[in-house]
């Protein structure tokens, strides 16, 4: 057997087994080997270059995992080697990273931010891995023709980087053929001496330089690439999550019966049952009542809880009591306490205060123990009579002594309470035992009421989840995603320049100016505007099909959510009515006018109002664009600006309509429309307005001094005309033709009608009784608020900011990333320069 110290060391364990037994030369003769000098030859290597490709990727990953697990086992026993410990360090790093992501996952509120904790972690490790592969390994391979991050597996199956240690590169793993091929690619002349060594040196140098570049650039590259990857992933992930969340919400309704089982009320049920069992047949004391009420109304809103309390009070009426032995004892004690201030001896007190038996006898003579008492005048009288007799006897002739006076005074104050409305000590004692007992009937009713309410609570929890996912005023709800998608697409199709976005982000007024300018320019370009309107109507149609079903609350067409809410509340109310819990039933479903304020209606209207508020915001934007187009095209201006209007008033009205549509804030419904107009318009000029480049070419408007501008409080037709211009006038046929077959058309027309009717029909909208068509139409301020929606300029102002921020961030990080990639790639061309091979060739030839 060959003798080799290193070999014998490695052979101490199976893991170190370098050679298969059958490879060992059995008839090894050390003298012969020494004589032949074969002994000093290096041992042939069992290592190999690792060639990972997609086909063996999974098997390599699995192999690595098994290796790590084995390494951990070895390390725990204290038998691991350096390579295994190095791998375990990487495992620790990933474990730490996962812990961070898992913890931060718990701190984030929305699915998107939660999932991005893990995406962030994955992209960070991904970037760490991808950067050297993509921007060093690949270009180096393309330019120099070999893999600078080549891995090899050593004799013990340990994977290492080939060029890890430049003082130990296992060149023997490359065959001459492979090296020569690389040499050819590197342009090394074929006939130089020691060609292999020369190529190896070149390869070593290229690898070393690249490794150094890796270390220098990785610090910048990893966070930048990771951030850019996350940025790129944001939209697809959001889209995926939106679909998933939407489906999840829908599934909640389809599987309502299964979903409610997830809410466990067994603890609540058990507590009630225990409470009722413990107090079975016992009087229903106020404490017991409170405990029952708390149990039944647990997790129910305060308004409904109030109704439940009232119903329970009817079910278990308070106020009737029976006089028990316990009550008599308490009365006796109360009497003793009452006369305490006299400082009488026990013997004397005994003479004054009748004992319990005497009181009992006197009361039974009056038949006071049978039946229930609501008030205690009769038994009090009995006790007072007993007292009076005793006091008279005790005092005898003495009527004037202080003691006698004090005694009489105390007797007289017996019926006095400490404060008005409070029970006296005697009343409290009489109320010791309520007359009503916890009967089986009451218990059963309470149990079934609790059961019915628990079921409703479970359903409401599912409804809450559904409503939250779909329409809550929170990030990443289906409605919020729709809003974002629509508004962002609008911004994109309006094609703002970076400069406009940069300027518009400063404040709403600047944003309004830029948006108006954009719209007024767009409406002059028929084709461009048609494209914009097509995109807009596509968005509105999509919204209608996605969100509008939620607006159907009644009949066969009603959305499943509304159907389920209706049946859940109606069924519960019916069962509660049957149990005489009509107050609770009413607060759940209401009747007549209270139906509007019932819990059921709140569940339904919350969803519909949220959807409407988004829908109307975009309808308003659409209407704004349509109005700007009509003016720009001068379409049937006489209809909205009749010939009997002064030219100056026409110009003022168009301006007011334009500004109101674009900038009128929801709060303007309460502060009224307001416009200062020129007080002495030219009364001879009735000409029509002129339009140029999408804008009104004002002859008068804007030329007057501010001091001459006033508000015309008596022009009750002016605001009517403006309102009709905005919401009542005809829509340009170019637009109507495009949208009349879309799913949102009818709703849009209805929106215009509603806005005209309810905002224009408000008694005190512009001025008191300045009404459209003289008709007053009452509506809630909430409805008007929803009709106004979000003003287009406000919508865009927020978007300008978001857009600017993300663009700015992206351009900053993107430029850094691009710069880094550029430098790294270019550096490749300066890498690997060695002593000129031709020179070597020439030297050799000499």
């Amino acid at each position: 057997m060959r003798t080799n110290l290193i070999q014998s060391y490695l052979n101490t364990s199976n893991q170190n087994q370098q050679y298969q037994q059958d490879k060992i030369v059995k008839d090894f003769d050390v003298h012969k080997e020494l004589a032949n000098r074969t002994f000093i030859k290096p041992l042939p290597s069992n290592g190999k270059l690792v060639k990972t490709n997609i086909s063996n990727f999974t098997s390599e990953v699995w192999k690595d995992m098994k290796y790590d697990m084995r390494a951990f086992k070895h390390a725990v026993k204290g038998e691991a080697n350096d390579h295994e410990l190095g791998r375990l360090n990487d495992v620790g790093m990933k474990l730490g990273g996962l812990s961070i992501a898992a913890y931060l996952f718990t701190r984030k509120q929305t699915p998107m931010t939660k999932i991005f904790e893990f995406i962030g972690l994955a992209t960070f490790f991904g970037a760490m891995d991808v950067w050297p592969k993509l921007f060093l390994q690949l270009p180096a391979y393309l330019i120099h023709g070999f893999n600078i991050r080549q891995k090899y597996e050593d004799n013990y199956g340990r994977k290492k980087m080939f060029y890890q240690d430049h003082q130990f590169i296992p060149w023997d793993l490359y065959s001459d053929e492979e090296i020569n091929k690389i040499g050819n690619r590197l342009g090394v002349p074929k006939d130089i001496p020691n060609r292999r060594e020369y190529i190896q040196e070149k390869m070593r140098k290229i690898a070393l330089q690249n490794n150094t570049m890796w270390m220098l650039t990785a610090g910048f590259a990893t966070p930048i690439l990771s951030a850019l990857m996350c940025n790129a992933l944001e939209k697809p992930v959001a889209k995926y999550l939106d679909k998933k969340m939407n489906a999840k919400a829908d599934a909640l309704m389809t599987n309502l019966n299964d979903e409610i089982l997830k809410y466990d009320f067994s603890k609540n049920k058990k507590e009630l049952e225990q409470l009722l069992a413990e107090n079975k047949g016992k009087p229903i004391t106020p404490e017991l009542f409170e405990k029952i009420f708390e149990n039944i109304s647990q997790d129910i809103d305060p308004m409904t809880s109030g109704s439940i309390r009232q119903d329970l009070e009817r079910l278990m009426p308070k106020g009737t009591h029976v006089v028990s032995d316990e009550a008599l004892t308490k009365i006796h004690t109360a009497l003793q306490d009452h006369f305490k201030p006299l400082n009488l001896s026990a013997e004397e007190l005994k003479q004054i205060i009748p004992d319990i038996d005497t009181i009992r006898t006197a009361m039974s003579e009056k038949n006071l123990f049978n039946g229930q008492m609501k008030e205690f005048s009769e038994p009090t009288m009995v006790i007072q009579n007993l007292l009076d007799t005793n006091i008279d006897k005790f005092l005898g002739e003495d009527t004037t002594s202080i003691q006698a006076k004090r005694l009489r005074l105390l007797r007289r104050t017996m019926g006095n309470a400490i404060a008005h409305g409070q029970d006296t000590a005697f009343q409290t004692a009489f109320k010791t035992q309520p007359a009503l007992l916890l009967t089986d009937d009451i218990s059963e009713t309470l149990k079934s009421v609790s059961q019915v309410l628990n079921e409703l609570k479970a359903k409401c929890n599912v409804f809450d989840r559904f409503a939250f996912i779909k329409v809550a005023q929170a990030q990443e709800t289906v409605l919020a995603n729709s809003w974002n998608e629509m508004s962002e697409t609008l911004l994109k199709s309006l094609n703002f320049s970076p400069r406009e976005i940069r300027l518009a982000k400063f404040d709403r007024e600047l944003a309004a100016g830029i948006l108006r300018n954009k719209l007024e320019t767009l409406v002059t370009d028929k084709e461009g505007f048609a494209k914009f309107m097509d995109e807009f109507s596509r968005l509105l149609s999509e919204f209608e099909s996605k969100m509008a079903p939620l607006l159907n609350t009644e009949g066969e067409e009603a959305h499943l959510y509304h159907k389920k809410v209706t049946s859940a509340f109606d069924d519960t109310a019916r069962e509660l009515y049957a149990k005489n819990m009509w107050k609770t039933g009413n607060s759940l479903v209401g009747y007549n006018s209270t139906a509007e304020t019932s819990l059921k209606n709140i569940y339904m209207s919350f969803v519909t109002e949220r959807v409407k508020s988004v829908r109307y915001s975009f309808h308003r934007f659409f209407d704004t664009a349509a109005f700007y187009y009509r003016i720009a095209q001068g379409y049937k201006l006489d209809d909205i600006l009749p010939a009997n209007m002064y030219r100056e008033a026409k110009e003022e009205a168009v301006e007011l309509a334009k500004v109101t549509l674009l900038e009128g804030h929801t709060s303007d419904t309460s502060v009224k429309l307001f416009q200062n107009r020129y007080k002495f318009p030219n009364k001879n000029d009735f000409s029509q307005i002129e339009v140029e480049g999408g804008r009104v070419k004002n002859k008068y408007f804007g030329t007057r001094a501010a001091k001459d501008m006033v508000e015309f409080a008596n022009d009750n037709e002016y605001f009517e005309k403006v309102m009709k211009m905005m919401f009542g006038g005809e829509i340009h046929p170019d637009i109507t033709e495009r949208i009349k077959n879309t799913p949102f058309y009818e709703e849009f027309i209805k929106y215009r009608q509603d806005a005209l009717k309810y905002i224009g029909g408000e008694k005190y909208f512009a001025k008191l009784y300045h009404l459209v068509d003289g008709q007053e139409h009452a509506s809630s301020s909430l409805f008007k608020f929803i009709l106004m929606g979000c003003a287009p300029d406000e919508m865009m102002y927020k978007l300008f900011n978001q857009k600017y921020n993300s663009k700015k961030w992206f351009s900053m990080v993107g430029k850094l990333g691009a710069g880094l990639i550029g430098v790294t790639l270019i550096s490749q061309f300066f890498i690997g320069r060695t002593k000129d091979a031709k020179k070597i060739q020439q030297e050799a030839q000499k």
Partner: protein, 345 residues
């Protein structure tokens, strides 16, 4: 010709060994002519840390970029600190790149940016600090210091025909490689009056193998190696979990109090009050991490912080217990027979 990197070579840096060395520096050179142990104290650790840090940003990249034939694995590994530091700074910068954002967006971004920055810093601090949670208990219990540093002198290849006797200095730890610990450095120097096995003797005594052992080094080495391996495993796992705990701490609400008070304008900083605010926020953050955030709903959300701290602490405790539980203790040891004469060569 392979371009020389003499200008960047360590010849001109500390521990150089060349002709132009001044006479005053000679003893210092002499000291590190061969590989030698260094005192494991704060001063040495700081000096080594700074030396490695400086070289990682200067000499080693220069050597690497020029493809120097003397570049080695140690230099490559030392350069690992470069992406760590630059990466941390970049990460902080990316999350705080909101210079020209609108005020409200800026405030929102700053909140997260500050937390990220603090997270990166606490990650580093906790990762390094937590290793001492293992090192010291193991040292107290077994007498084995797993972090003893030594200086290694490399004799380099010629870079140009003029070069001779080029050397470079590396800092390693005796137990850095568990396959090949530097046992030789742990022997005492009889010339200095040290007993050859004095370090091994101490460890043997501490671990109950007794005194006056025939070959304490042979008895102790397997134990030493076991402790090295196990402590490395413990440090690998626990340090990253503590680092994660550091990041979690940075994300607690009380930290925001510190961010409000903190400023990078150090010339305007009242360091005492800054430090106090930080201390207070830091302590409170532990509380909120443990208790869970106020808006936590699910059990997972409520107890995630506890789990994080528990996991980190558990990994340290289990790591220590496993490390100090030495299985490779010799069952029988040979004790020197003092009555017998022996010759030490």
């Amino acid at each position: 010709m392979i371009s020389a990197i003499r200008d960047f070579s360590e010849k001109n840096i500390t521990f150089k060994q060349q002709v132009s060395v001044s006479k005053q520096e000679e003893p210092q050179q002499k000291k590190h002519e061969d590989d030698s142990l260094l005192e494991n104290n704060f001063s040495t650790r700081t000096r080594i840390g700074l030396d490695k840090l400086t070289k990682a940003f200067t000499i080693y990249p220069a050597k690497g970029l020029s493809g120097n034939r003397n570049s080695n694995f140690y230099e490559f590994l030392t350069m690992g600190i470069v992406p760590y530091i630059i990466g941390s700074a970049s990460l902080i910068a990316i999350f705080n790149a909101y210079g020209s954002f609108q005020h409200s967006a800026k405030a929102k971004a700053a909140k997260l940016g500050n937390k990220m920055a603090m997270g990166v810093i606490l990650y580093g601090i906790f990762k390094e600090l937590s290793k001492t949670f293992i090192t010291y208990p193991v040292k107290w219990k077994t007498g084995i210091d797993t972090e003893i540093p030594y200086v290694k002198t490399n004799h380099l290849l010629q870079e140009s025909p003029d070069d001779y006797n080029l050397t470079s200095i590396e800092y390693h730890k005796v137990g850095e490689s568990v396959d090949f610990p530097r046992w030789d450095l742990l022997y005492g120097d009889p010339n200095k009056g040290e007993s050859i096995n004095f370090r091994y003797d101490k460890i043997a005594k501490k671990n109950g193998l007794g005194t006056d052992l025939n070959d304490s080094d042979q008895e102790v080495k397997p134990m030493y190696k076991e402790v090295l391996i196990k402590s490395k495993l413990a440090k690998s796992i626990s340090s990253f979990l503590w680092a994660a705990t550091g990041v979690c701490l940075a994300f607690q609400e009380p930290m925001e109090k510190y961010f409000k008070a903190a400023t990078l304008k150090f010339w305007k900083t009242d360091f005492y009050s800054q430090f106090k605010t930080f201390g207070k926020s830091f302590v409170e953050s532990w509380g909120t991490l443990y208790k869970g955030a106020a808006n936590a709903e699910t059990k997972f959300e409520k107890h995630a912080g506890k789990a994080m701290i528990g996991l980190a602490a558990l990994s340290t405790i289990l790591g220590i217990l496993n490390t100090v539980h030495i299985t490779k203790k010799p069952k029988q040891v040979n004790v020197i027979d003092k009555n017998k004469e022996s010759v030490v060569s």
